[in-house]
Symmetry: C2
Subunit: 202 residues, 2 copies
């Protein structure tokens, strides 16, 4: 909403390059010199735009988490029943694989390292809020009889979350399948196991 997404500023260009490096080489494995090289400037010049390497990762993750949390809230508000809500949440998550690919990779690879630093403590808050939203939807579905009752909603949430995010490692949204195709396939596979109207496994 407030963040500029028109023609990218130099600052945003550099941030995107940094994100790409963090995503492929990890946060600690990327150097400010590599970032500067990618931007075609010298490492010292980076500090005209950013305070530190950490502040780059901070901005990358914050932008992603704020946007997706808002999208989650909107998805739940628009949903008709828990099954629809879960489908919408899955689509929101997969939809972020394109525009926020690098942020998701950073989140997957460097979460443990970053949350240990005080300045990244907000990551936990965002993660907790996200978990509350998803677990609420799943628990509602169990209560309503839409999902089988012999599952732990928290465990289900974690399976889903991880399976979705980690696909950032291999999924190329430009390929034959779009992110929403993938979301549909995943929901089909998932709901077949989550919904209760099937026989037992063979």
């Amino acid at each position: 909403m407030t963040s500029a997404t028109q023609v990218p500023t130099r600052r945003e260009e550099i941030l995107a390059l940094a994100a790409g490096l963090f995503a492929t080489r990890g946060f600690a494995g990327s150097t400010v010199r590599e970032i500067a090289d990618a931007a075609g400037i010298l490492s010292g010049s980076l500090y005209h735009h950013f305070d530190s390497k950490e502040s780059m990762a901070d901005e990358i993750l914050r932008a992603f988490l704020d946007e997706i949390l808002a999208d989650y809230h909107a998805a739940i508000a628009a949903a008709e029943g828990p099954v629809d809500a879960l489908r919408r949440l899955v689509h929101v998550a997969y939809g972020a694989l394109g525009p926020h690919r690098a942020a998701i990779a950073v989140m997957m690879n460097d979460w443990n390292l970053l949350v240990q630093q005080p300045r990244f403590a907000y990551l936990r808050d965002r993660a907790d809020e996200t978990e509350r939203l998803w677990v609420g939807v799943i628990a509602d579905g169990v209560a309503a009889g839409a999902f089988r009752a012999d599952v732990d909603p928290r465990m289900i949430y974690r399976f889903l979350r991880d399976a979705i995010w980690v696909s950032v490692r291999w999924f190329q949204p430009d390929g034959s399948t779009s992110a929403h195709d993938l979301a549909d396939r995943y929901c089909d596979m998932l709901l077949g196991g989550l919904t209760r109207d099937q026989g037992g496994p063979t």
Copy 2:
């Protein structure tokens, strides 16, 4: 077989400590000084046991990958049909979450960084062989009619692999559920969606 697993040697003790650090702080985010501190020695003394920090990660990953590949082969050889084979593979993978927790965390967090180095090129070979085994089982199941035919075996494999490994981030095998409980739960959820004898989702 050949590797000693009796009373751990000093070398093995240090390796386990290094693995723990790599797992929580990442490979690039861990320093040899931290490893030495954990072992109660000075950083220089580490080089009596190991050539380099890389060689530590090398040993950690190699031991894990060699063992689990052997277990995968054995699981497939012992299985009666594709569904049983898939269940067994899932159990082997989850079974590694206890003894190889740190190696799995390193694999999850630092895979991209490490495979870029020539000395870790073998990681790709192991990954390819693993994928062949799993995809073969899934494809056999589709051919035999045990799994629904509208799935891409490679995509299914990746969903499974990632969902299993990434649970190293939150699963504590010492808790109320064992790794094999988790494997069973996951298989139930999964096969309900993979096997074809259910109605459509609600």
